[in-house]
Amino acid sequence: MSILWALIRRDLTLAIRQGGGVGTALGFFLTFVVLLPLGLGPDQALLQRLAPGALWVALLLSVLLSASTLFQQDYEDGSLDVMALGAAPLELVALAKSAAHWLSAGLPLAIAAPLLGFLLNLNPAGIWPLAISMITGSLALSLIASIGAAVTVGLRRGGLLVSLLVLPLYVPVLIFGVSASAGGPQIATAALLILLALALVSLVLAPLAAAAALRAYLK
């Protein structure tokens, strides 16, 4: 456990000091939310209808953008070699790195999104459902992105490949995430539970898949 914590703490420190991928994610999200109403025009009712879906798409792309290089630095500077010789298996390394990514990118975005939703005329009643579903969903997004990041870790320009690999896996999260934030009361609860299930399944499976890919690259 202390091993995981050491890794999470290091990645959070790096995220704060370097900005890097996480800074790009936050910047992208902000730009998207600011520009969308300018592009759509002054139709307030239209904006309100679009807001949850637009915020979800922005969250999804921001996470993808920042997570696609999750393992790259550690692979290039040899940290991953040393980590592979550590007491913790690579599955836990992948889990800790995804968790750190979620804490530094997914979670702040999920918390900021409902506030930024005011720019999109988000219905005030929808703030809590949106926040809860985004917090749950962004965990799944970070974990799923770690698979794509691990599969392309040795490729110089793996960004496009990560998108192609990961987007199909993102579709269910997007669908249920939007239903959980914008559907009626009954649909929203059901969708939120499915979203939670998706997050839990990726919590178990994504580190396994990512570690398998990393091992294949190290060998």
Binding site: L14, D77, G78, D81, L85, A87
Partner: protein, 185 residues
């Protein structure tokens, strides 16, 4: 890469891998650490920890220094001590005389200093096998002496070390494995 290689290293001894560039010295080290698959053959460690793999009982120091430029020197070592399961950070800083630089971001270090920081991982916590890939590159003579002292101490304590390097090593009883000759045979 190579075939028909056989060697053994006793506790307290050092094996020097020599051979021309590209003869597979680094690959052999990665193989021992378990970072590469062995196509055919076997590796065995007598008297090691039963529940740990050979790699988990190795210190592996290679060209890539596993240093984060955005962290300070001491933060880099603290992370590895946390990740590798404990260790004496102050002792590791002292091993290569990095105490003075401890609060500097690793990005400001020179190549030689980075290498010293990378090598100080060896002093962080004891592991029975040291795999050193070109450990002397970029070190000044004072640091080289410190490296020899560190290795000597490790060997005296019953550890074993395998080093891929071209410089002559100042240890009596160093065995040599020439991969160039083995590959040609």
């Amino acid at each position: 890469m190579f075939r028909g290689i056989s060697f053994s290293v006793e506790a307290g001894n050092l094996l020097q891998l020599v051979g021309p560039n590209g003869s597979g010295k680094s690959t052999l080290l990665r193989l021992i650490a378990g970072l590469c698959d062995i196509a055919d053959g076997s590796l065995a460690l007598d008297g090691g920890h039963e529940e740990l793999s050979i790699g988990q009982q190795c210190h592996y120091a290679a060209h890539q220094d596993a240093i984060k430029p955005a962290l300070t020197v001491v933060e880099n070592l603290r992370f590895w001590s946390g990740f590798l399961g404990g260790g004496n950070v102050d002792g590791a800083l002292a091993a290569f005389d990095l105490k003075r630089l401890e609060t500097f971001p690793a990005a400001l270090l020179s190549a030689g200093q980075r290498h010293r920081l990378s090598l100080s991982r060896l002093a962080l916590l004891p592991r029975p096998i040291w795999l050193l890939d070109e450990p002397t590159v970029g070190l000044d003579s004072a640091s080289l002496e410190k490296l020899w002292a560190l290795i000597r101490d490790h060997l005296v304590k019953g550890g074993l070390a395998i080093a891929a390097t071209h410089v002559p090593l100042p240890f009596p009883g160093t065995e040599k494995l020439d991969l160039g000759v083995e590959a040609a045979a």
